[in-house]
Assembly symmetry: none
DNA sequence: TTGACAATTATGTACATACATATCGTAATT
DNA sequence: AATTACGATATGTATGTACATAATTGTCAA
């Protein structure tokens, strides 16, 4: 073997047998078939590399990606183990209200109830980890499906982070959609809960005061800079469904 | 320098300046500062590697991870561009009640309210896509955090699919946890909603009739065979949170 | 017994290199 | 003109190597 030349892949064309995908799949199979039980320590990267006949880095990538989706847990000196609670992750895609409504075959419409620029109130500053005086755009919108109230949206936008939105009139595009199109984010927090409709909520959504509401809150950041916080209220008959 | 030895990093110790994390952050910064607009094509890996003074593989990893979270879109011959519609998918983890409660520092306890084996009622057969006479295990459990009702669980289990559970007494392990450990599934549907507490719900959870409840329903299948359907009710102060 | 510290070890990351693969544009062919 | 073939190109992945870093374990001393 010459000094610098890395050995050609097995001389024969037996490539692709050692792809990190293959390894991921094989590890998943072993978990499924209970070869490796939850909580169990699995062989180290070196050993697996030897077993699969590939480089350690390849095993590393496979395991790293499995760790990312929560299948295994890794710690430096301690090794890799199968996650105790195969914490399955549901994928909820961030919906654009319009698309969601139209998918039901209904006519979509929205209206901006109020629009004001003000200093962030204390509660919002705390929630967004902001300090000092921060100008925010506060919007309240109502979304309709076939002229029936569908969602009430109460949104705060950090103008320092999304300056372009200050000039927006939202004649055609809802704030929701505008932000999805124009404000990429890197981090997000969502919270789901139930609450009782206040008199105002009830009035807006056309239901009775005290009726249960489904609450979807979402906060987004780009690089530690908070972009927006939104609280969406849905009528009691709303169901958020996800299958996979 | 010997033949095989890769050149030491810049001779000086100026390492870690070119980490893939640094590159990720810098790219996010450029997006935030509108240096690169949504939809725009950014320089190729080679160019960026040259700019950042690192190997192409390092840029590749940074960009790959950004693509994974939907910030950029990549196509082979076409290059990398800032995502136009950062259609993000939220990953909502499926919690094991006990772990969830204990994570709050509270004492976990559960009690099985009822346990009966019967033929699947029509509604359940429809929901699970079952036909004919199907024996099911119907369980009703109450979960506590520090002796305060936390979740009411109403579960139906397809005994044909999970025969081993028929003998289970659930003395120590809750049905939830037993199933997570022993009944792997391939498909799942979740539905989130809000509802008003019935008199019975209210009694069990220690709240008032009509109070809003957060409802989490989950159905799982293994290869088209339905395993279980569960409906979990939470007190009004419950929030399901997920950050990423 | 306990606490500090060093040795050990498994994972984490960076790099140069080579080759794989998808896809776009263009040229040759029908 | 439509179709096909092909080359160019950007990303995708595998490898050997080297060093970084976190965490455990063993050792020794207070």
């Amino acid at each position: 073997m010459t000094a610098a030349a890395p050995k050609s892949p097995e001389a024969s064309g037996a490539r692709a047998l050692t792809s990190f995908r293959t390894i991921k799949t094989e590890i998943l199979r072993r978990i499924r078939d209970r070869v490796w039980q939850p909580g169990e320590l699995i062989p180290g990267e070196e050993d697996l590399a030897r077993e699969f006949g590939c480089a350690r880095v390849t095993v590393n990538r496979a395991l790293r990606e499995l760790a990312q989706i929560g299948i295994v847990e890794r710690k430096r000196r301690a090794g890799t183990r199968i996650a105790e609670h195969p914490l399955r992750e549901a994928r909820l895609e961030i919906p654009v209200v319009r698309v969601e409504v139209e998918a039901l075959g209904a006519q979509y419409r929205f209206s901006v109830l109020s629009r004001e620029i003000l200093a962030a109130p204390e509660a919002m500053r705390a929630r967004l980890d902001l300090s000092g005086k921060v100008r925010m755009l506060h919007l309240r919108c109502l979304h309709f499906a076939d002229n029936r109230p569908w969602q009430f949206e109460d949104r705060w936008i950090n103008l320092a982070a999304v300056p372009d939105i200050e000039g927006e009139r939202f004649d055609t595009m809802s704030p929701n959609e505008w932000l999805v199109k124009n404000a990429p984010f890197s981090e997000m927090e969502i919270a789901l809960s139930a609450t009782a409709a206040t008199a105002e909520d009830a009035d807006l959504l056309g239901i009775a005061k005290g009726d249960p509401l489904f609450v979807f809150e979402r906060t987004t950041w780009l690089l530690d800079q908070p972009l927006t916080h939104v609280r969406m209220l849905h009528r009691p008959d709303y169901r958020m469904v996800s299958r996979f």
